[in-house]
Symmetry: D2
Subunit: 266 residues, 4 copies
């Protein structure tokens, strides 16, 4: 057998086989956003009986994985998550995996997935994980800070629109409508009408729903807030802390209060 | 707050932001190989005290994840693994994720990672998983079956070369040499000399080492072997079974015995 | 001024600026087809009063440029042209411009364009060239000879369909119909009906039209035909000749008669 | 024959064949630079006996082609040329050829090449064009105006360095040294030393050499200078004019004097 191998060794031409590798290299000096989305999470959430329209624990589990990503990969400077999706922003001049798209995306999505399984029991101590969670991912580059902020604003606007819709939809379903009746009912309604539906029919003031459901989760190193910097006695040095916040990232005020996040000089 | 949102909603231009997405589409009618490699697995194996040069249980855990990948993704027709790497071959005309490289790679690497954590306790019931395992991945296309088989042969030749080296290296280390002494000792030795070293100094006949260590693991649906096809009584139909084999995939004989694996018509 | 320059020289970082270059490398061991198409050739043909539906001299001029391309670039093994388009096939393992798409496409399209202007007077001695001709180009890879031949067959089928339509259209226009009347008249007619129209209304037997109009032009080194190999007395050696033929390249017979063209071993 | 065709028509699957086309799309909102370089221009300049180190007429011919490119392609906002290379800058949000790299590059390089042949006799009335000129081209994106200006500065610094070297080299050759002796002589000399060589040995004050040789050529619509805007009496409207200037584009002053060139709002 080994004899066979020895003959074969010389026939194999690694350089030729490597020549088929084509690495897509992301443009230098642009913000890299790695966005991951749950695969078949509709079924995943049913199997695990997630609460509708939002399962707070499932979202907290997602957030805990995002915190781990930010702690592990120092080039990730900001992250925004909603539902089963998370966007990770890498700093403009990151050289992570030599800016090869496949390397960057695969390592982040792989690490996130592992963490999701490892952290499961912390958030669902009573529930068994029945199916392996999986996420697809991709990298997109944005050439300016302005466009990057537009991207993040888009995700937060989407969070709002989807949450408002889903809140109405599930209230209707819980009140006895079938899913398709609920869908028909909401077809073409405006934001204002949806709020009125919630207020009048179900006595729900949309603004009082948990802010995490309404605004999603921003995860980042809080370098500005001194209360978030603690002394790590083991290592004898000051350390910053990754925070999870639920705040408006569309408006200028958030970014003015946290100038270091997208500071190109850091 | 919502008011702010409502104003902002109209400023966001999803189509513009989507226009930055650039999907690399893999060439049609070519074999796609997704190869994943453990990230920082040197450290990972030390933290978890894997046996050297090979930890049979760690390899079996890898193989169990590959079985799950093949069962989950029907376009994966063959898979070959060694150490902390696995190569998954997708059929030539697969339309999985519309042949977008990011989607294909991220979903497979994510699913594999989740399974690795979920299956850990089955293979290491006494050991706690201390760190999240992660893998990088990438897709490479090969335009002909001949070149694909050359790729697989290359991986198996690498398995052989690395295993022979590592077996010698760790025997020397276990016999008292430092790691750098062992390295120097092996520098420039040939296959023949390494076998003699094992035989004469350590009384080891290389050919008697476990075949999984020497030949890696091939994972695939065994459609040819009728004993691998069983009646699934629950679903009332014949089902094939994914098998893990340790055999020479360089030589023609394996592929002749399993014509359906790379049959382009399946 | 120079002083200013000297200061500036050190500020420029060529490596950084070169890092923005992203070369798309074409997959090894695949057939490369560079296809060029006339840009704004509708207007170009009107300005230069080309005959309709086909201008024999304009086609011969295109062919003369294709001959020059084949003589200049040894990796181009076959070329097929019709109307204002030409497809150039590069051999499977060509290393021309390191298989960088931009280099391959730009050099061929540039050379072809220069030749078009240089050869103009040979084909239109009475006509002044009033506008610069320009062509767009792109490279496409095909992983097997079978698919490459399907591509070439597609172009020849297109030649046939377009020529039949255009012949009818211009006969109708020359007989007094307006262009939009002619268009309406032909809307939805089948091949058979178009042939009958030509035969009955205009007394034209389609099969007797010049073969170049009906089958396009194939340009290649004729290595099989000994009459196409001549002694170059100046250089004292046997030389092959590039030929322009108008023949069916869909059927097997052409490729059987010219086995060397797509022979991967040449 | 037609019969054969009719059968074949149905076998051809255009959609399948088109699926192999992979268009590289350039990132939105980035400056696109198309750079073209003469192919084998060393030989081309020898065959046509261009003057050394610079042939004023050959440079003027290149410039005339760049003027034509700018007049033809309205998205090209600036162009800089030196020796046998030219860089064309397309505005940030250009949608030319849907930002497909192949289309953009091929059309510009093709048009430039045609113009080069057409304009030849205007610049070399006594010389026959003996060989078809050809250029390779490629597109590179720069995400900010600052980096784009660094790119242009780099090209002008290169112009200066090469011209100074070439001036020394050809003076040495013309004074009787062989080419390799001249090369050895200049090996490792600094800018200062080269200027001294020219001054002391050949009585040449580098600063008095033609500014086109020293600074290259910038080609652009001069929208700021009212003397460059003329009334086109035929069309009855004001028209701007493309100008060719030889000036320092590294320093801020040029761009301050011509704010419209890189103005993203135009």
């Amino acid at each position: 057998e080994l004899g066979g191998f020895e003959e074969d060794i010389n026939k194999v031409k690694p350089e030729y086989l490597k020549s088929f590798v084509f690495e897509r290299k992301l443009m230098p000096s642009t913000w890299i956003v790695v966005r991951i989305d749950g695969r078949h999470f509709h079924g995943f959430s049913e199997v695990h009986e997630f609460e509708k329209p939002n399962d707070g624990q499932a979202l907290n589990l997602m957030n805990s994985c995002a915190v781990a990503v930010i702690e592990e990969f120092q080039d990730v400077v900001f992250s925004y998550g909603v539902s089963d999706e998370f966007s990770f922003v890498l700093k403009k001049d990151s050289q992570f995996h030599e800016r090869h798209a496949s390397g960057i995306v695969s390592v982040i999505v792989s690490f996130f997935s592992s963490k999701y399984v490892m952290n499961w029991k912390d958030f669902f101590p009573q529930k068994e994980l029945k199916k392996p969670p999986s996420f697809d991912g991709r990298a997109v580059c944005y050439p300016s800070t302005e466009i990057l902020r537009d991207y993040l604003a888009w995700r937060q606007v989407d969070c709002h629109i989807n949450n408002q819709y889903n809140t109405c939809f599930w209230m209707l379903v819980k009140s006895g409508k079938s899913k398709s009746e609920a869908q028909d009912y909401l077809q073409g309604t405006r934001a204002q009408e949806k709020n009125e539906l919630l207020a009048l029919q179900f006595g729900i003031d949309y603004q009082t729903l948990p802010v995490m459901f309404r605004q999603g989760s921003s995860v980042f190193w809080d370098k500005e807030d001194p209360t978030k910097i603690y002394n790590d006695e083991r290592e004898g040095k000051c350390r910053k802390k990754v925070v999870v916040e639920h705040c408006n990232i569309i408006q200028q005020s958030f970014w003015k209060a946290h100038p270091s996040i997208l500071d190109e000089k850091y």
